[in-house]
């Protein structure tokens, strides 16, 4: 067996051709990455998706697919939609805290100006 096969071809137990679509993005030292993406999307779908993209964008596409696949493996029900939900909740909470702090600043500034006015009188 060719020791230089990419992780995808090793997983699929096939020869790794020179123009293998997976080899730039799935090095042999990280087999779990391809296993995860294959489990969720399937090798054929990933191959089709990468082939439809320009060369220079495939690396980012592979990374984002891996990220989404990992999220789905970790959370089979919500996947990375769960993360979106958490972020939106966090945004809402922070906006509420911001509004509260701005109100507190307004009150403090009012008290400060009243203190200054009474000092001058």
């Amino acid at each position: 067996m060719n020791p230089k096969r990419c992780a995808a071809c090793k997983y699929l137990r096939r020869r790794c051709p020179k123009d293998c679509i997976f080899s730039p993005y799935f090095p042999p030292n990280d087999p779990a990455k391809f296993a995860c993406i294959h489990r969720i999307y399937g090798a054929g779908n990933v191959s089709k998706m990468l082939q439809q993209l320009p060369d220079q964008t495939r690396a980012e596409a592979a990374e984002s697919l891996c990220f989404e696949a990992k999220c789905r493996v970790d959370d089979p029900v919500y996947g990375c939609v769960g993360i979106i939900h958490l972020l939106q909740t966090q945004i809402e909470q922070t906006q509420n805290q911001l509004a509260k702090t701005q109100a507190e600043i307004a009150v403090a500034q009012t008290k400060l100006s009243q203190t200054h006015n009474s000092d001058f009188m």
Binding site: E68, R72, V77
Partner: protein, 226 residues
Amino acid sequence: MSSSGNPSSSGGGGPCGACKFLRRKCVAGCIFAPYFDSEQGAAHFAAVHKVFGASNVSKLLQHVPEHKRPDAVVSICFEAQARLRDPIYGCVSHIVSLQQQVVSLQTELSYLQAHLATLELPQPQPPPVPVSSSGSLQALSITDLPSISPSVYDLSSIFEPVMSSTWAMQQQPRPSDHLFGVPSSSSIGGGGELQALAREFIHSGQMPAQPSPGTSGSGSTVIKRE
């Protein structure tokens, strides 16, 4: 897409949306039937099939408890449609833009809390705010601060408690390749909220809750690796 749990399989009602798309007989107990009705379900299933594949989705759903399957189908449809709209980043671009929004808001909050602390000191301190031409004090804004570039895929901050961090801490660079540092979010019980979110996305044809440009110094949702 129907997530009411009513089966759409044949028995009088015709095939479900998935079996219609796959042009196969919709058997009793079809795993897709409760979630893909025969009208709009076929269109939603087309996206799911193109991205994930029917057999992969079937396996995914079989490993999910039945009462959680509607939520799983909604999230799978959401991801599939996001990936078709953005073949490079899928819904990760939305995650990154939300993450930038969180960082921006938390930085602004830290700044305001520091300002509040100076106002509440016993000795009167001159407030470090610009004064508008009308003479009234302007609200502090994120544009007063230097811009911050959050790293990609570093979602560890999402799961820290929502608390004020010092403005200095926000300036620290984060590790750039903190891939997959995401704990499980399966504790989310907001099924109704999730479905509302996904329906808003699916029916309106665009991502919900996009940040306005210039909020964090960069309105683009293009992911940049550091």
